[in-house]
Symmetry: D2
Subunit: 348 residues, 4 copies
């Protein structure tokens, strides 16, 4: 009963197969391998962006901060939510990679509204050279609370950015889950509404560790390449990144695994809605749930082998006290474990 | 006939097997997987350093610059040779990761002598705060010209560093090849003579992409962890790095592949010594050769399918003109291809 | 009627005299001038800190960020208020000088409470290497809204910092005004309650441009010196900085000018309290006032020659609409101009 | 007998007068003072560059590195000589301000030839993203060995840079001395031959501490302004920088002081050429001399009160051993002291 994260599940067998197939003889290094050429073409087709620059890196943090640094000057500020991965989970990687840019927090939680973004941008008043200058808007879809931005929400946010001449970056660590949850195509979630660069995540969705960074404006491409290299993120045996993404894009595997993950979360949510002692605290939209439950029940679930993150409160204290926990469904999660978890939760 | 680099060969089948075995169910993230615990113990045993801190990253540049940044202040200078990977092949990654340290070039080529190091250190005269302050000594074994530092050479260099209170970093992208070529144990090549941190390379020796960074002084460990995280080099699905290193350390695979690579280079060298038109320009000691040959012959070799790097001179020009080429032998290189290459070279 | 800032007034005649006296013959460079030796002794005496390291730089931003960078690791976050100069007025200088640290905003305005600080520190939960690590607490006295922290407020804040093992930095751009307003001695406002380093401002209080940075723990000193040099903030003709600070410390000039500034603000506040159309929005404690008044009146004051900053709202709009303005009193402000301003304001 | 440096002499009386005149009432901050407007116009006229952007900072290091950082990307390398101030005297400030660029050393000493520059540029072979990319060419006139580049030498160097598409920066800490020594106008030494930005030094030539940074391409201007601010180099009471430069530019004071300094060095050189025990080691061209003399004589000169830097060798050792010393002539150096030094040197 592993709900701790979708960054701990196995790679999909098709991905392992692709790795095996790629492990033949010699292949030219640093992204010049033939598989990468195929990946680039497939990714451009997927995003309906024949000019897009496509790059692979191995971690989500690398994808985000290399992409953002390419869109941001050191004297600017990046607009993001307080819960954004770049704010709370990257140990100041954005500040490091941008050469000292700042993050301006918009709103209170995991999503920003166009109004809040507008206010935050206006709040970073332009007073000559004194304050941070306005920089990129950084969005995340699926958010850190398992919610999604709809197409119209994204469009409204991008419109605000455009009005102020600011580029837009999308952290898509769970991009596939968001596409399925919103019924948007990759193009509709990105350049068609004004996103300039996206981290197209694979690691949390069935790969060993690969994220694509896609720039819709190829003029940004060369700068990204220098940044990737000096960040130590250009792989010599790049074919092993290429092969993962090759499998991910072939036969819509990315959709298949994301659909599996989202379906598991829906099954879990449905089950938990029937548990008297459990309250969903956020309406789940993708593959992540948040619920409040008595500490005693949480402990019993753990004792039975369930693994999850405590989001709010602590496990120490009396049994009646409430805690909020996060439950993430990997594509590989056995449905029987979901049902078992629900049964335990229903028992209270 | 692929001699372009050892960063383009396949992973060893045992490594692929380990990857497959690791791909079972869920494993906790960010280096807390059980395989990593085993790797740490094995690496400590290999280095005879029970307190050492052991970390995995996926690229050689990351290993080098994260290790160096942990040993270096931004106002210091790193002593290395002009040909050092950190100087010529990392797009200013050391300057980036250290927050602006400098590199002071010692000697003219791929190896430094203790005398040259002493002179360079004295040359970075301490004049209060004005110049760069003296920082780490960065050595590479095997060097970029396929030579090795012997145990006594290393000891002499480390003694100079120690006398000036400077830490020593060893870039061991080809550490295994160096151990075999020098007949030194991992401990003898590192902490026993005064090396503080080493990049223990796997990528060029049969892995998909993993390097271990080993700190013999565990006090440096926590700082390294912050730097790795904010560099974007901490893998969530870390088990896939762990598994590669697990296979590498098990049954001395690292020695087996390095021995194969070195033996192939020896076979190639022996063959080329018999070719009238070819002159070895550096006495080969590990898995890399440099030789001068007429441009016309080099072209015929290429036309026959040989791949190699041109080190000095260019392929444009008259056929009698000489070029120097680099030939790197991967552990996987078929011996028949070596023999075929030699036969072609012998034909002139 | 210049109320725009205390960074625009003249230098005190005694300071100019000291500059003139210092301009004799040759003086050794880079802070080794004899006047600096005297300044160090005087500053140590003033702060009752015979071991303190004392440095001069020419701008407040330099003083703040060099001091903070010496107290902060790149993977940490600095706790400060949203209105802190380091957050809104230094164009990301703290992020730049620290090598990419972050700022965590505490509370809503210009002052933080011990409770808010505690909450913010706890909010930067320690989750291994993922989030920013807790770093220095950065206080400002006088605050950007013209208020002061009392001794007990400062002590409570420092106690929170100490409990979490965090160093404390004090931005004292208006340190002298704060000493007078709180009736605290320099030692009582700093090391006696737990401040580790302070920017002891002179520029806003009668100098041409000098701030002292004082470290009460001299172990930090050498690192500061490297940072100052590579920041380009070490003056060759340092005597001209030394001479300003010499005059500032002699005969308590720093108290004299601050007392003059505070007295002017008190006079202005008293006058404005009698103006029906004007409301003080912050209870003034030092040399800075904030008041709300109708836009029409603000315009008439400007037309009559008054210069001030609009803090909230804009000057565009109907005459009855309210704006909040900031009025800063320099030590040199003629009292007649204050009275004239009050008279105009009283006329409505 | 102060020959240690021209960074230790007094400010010219006209400069002090200008400071005094500027110290009247209030002046708007951060470079918007009326004196700066005048300075900008005068500087543009001096450089015959009506569109040039003109900025003032207080130290030579700040001028150099802010200018260079504006011309350089973090993944590039700056071409300069080994003796360049940016290489040996700024504690890695260029690496810091550029965000991690590298310095490539051209030639062996203080001057580079067009051939050496071409070779160095070609040596930084463009190999995709692996090595440092080619960046600005950084020249210094007067050099650190007291020599000058002639107009044709400068033109040849700039032509090499242009051919490779690289910008050119000129460190003019002793720009005025170079103009006089070469008989070139400011325009002829800069934009007319292809210099993009210059540090026009004042500190070593009669000011308290001001350098102008001039960009001939105003498109670079705004970026410089952000960099200056976040470097902590934008002065609030900027009028005191403006006033110094105002006096410097008025009545050609900059030429007057430089002429005085150069004349003193010529007088000193002439005198020393007549001293049997002393050998000029570099043909002096501006206000700096280098000579070899027996250690015993050097000690006697010191004992008589002479101050100078030991350039090569040390003062410890037997009296007959030779040392090379540096003698710098400030504009303010009394001629009698020169004559006295020569007399002592002649006595052997």
């Amino acid at each position: 009963m592993f709900f701790a994260s979708d960054n701990a599940g196995p790679a999909h067998p098709k991905v392992m197969d692709a790795l095996m197939r790629a492990n033949e003889g010699f292949a030219s290094a640093y992204g010049t391998d033939p598989i990468m050429a195929e990946v680039t073409e497939r990714a451009r087709a997927l995003f309906e962006a024949p000019e897009a620059a496509v790059y692979l890196v191995a971690t989500g943090t690398a994808a985000n901060v290399l992409g953002l640094a390419t869109l941001c000057q050191p004297w600017q500020t990046i607009f993001c939510t307080p819960l954004a991965h770049i704010n709370v989970d990257e140990c100041n990687a954005p500040e490091f990679y941008t050469g000292g840019a700042k993050l301006t927090l918009v709103g209170e939680g995991d999503k920003m509204t166009a109004e809040a973004l507008e206010a935050a941008i206006l709040g970073e008043e332009v007073r000559g050279v004194h304050g941070a200058q306005r920089g990129p808007v950084a969005l995340t879809n699926v958010t850190e609370r398992g919610r999604v931005y709809s197409g119209s929400e994204l469009a409204a946010l991008c419109a605000v950015a455009r009005r102020h001449g600011l580029p837009v970056h999308l952290d898509g660590a769970r991009f596939a889950n968001a596409c399925l949850a919103t019924n948007l195509s990759p193009a509709e979630m990105t350049w068609k509404i004004g996103v300039d660069a996206v981290s197209f995540g694979g690691t949390k969705n069935g790969l060993l560790g690969v994220e694509a960074v896609v720039f819709f404006d190829p003029d940004r491409a060369m700068e990204f390449e220098y940044r990737r290299k000096r960040g130590g993120h250009l792989f010599s045996k790049h074919r092993y990144l290429s092969a993962q993404m090759q499998a991910y894009l072939a036969d819509d595997l990315w959709r298949e695994t994301a659909a599996a993950a989202n379906a598991r979360a829906a099954r879990l949510a449905e089950g938990l809605r029937g548990c008297a002692a459990v309250t969903l605290t956020v309406t789940p939209q993708a593959n992540m749930l948040f619920c409040a439950l008595p500490r005693g029940l949480a402990r019993r679930l753990q004792a039975a082998g369930a693994q999850f993150a405590v989001w709010e409160g602590t496990m120490e204290g009396d049994a009646e006290g409430m805690v909020e926990i996060r439950l993430v469904c990997d594509w590989s999660l056995p449905e029987a474990e979901i049902d078992r978890f629900v049964a335990l939760a229903a028992a209270g």
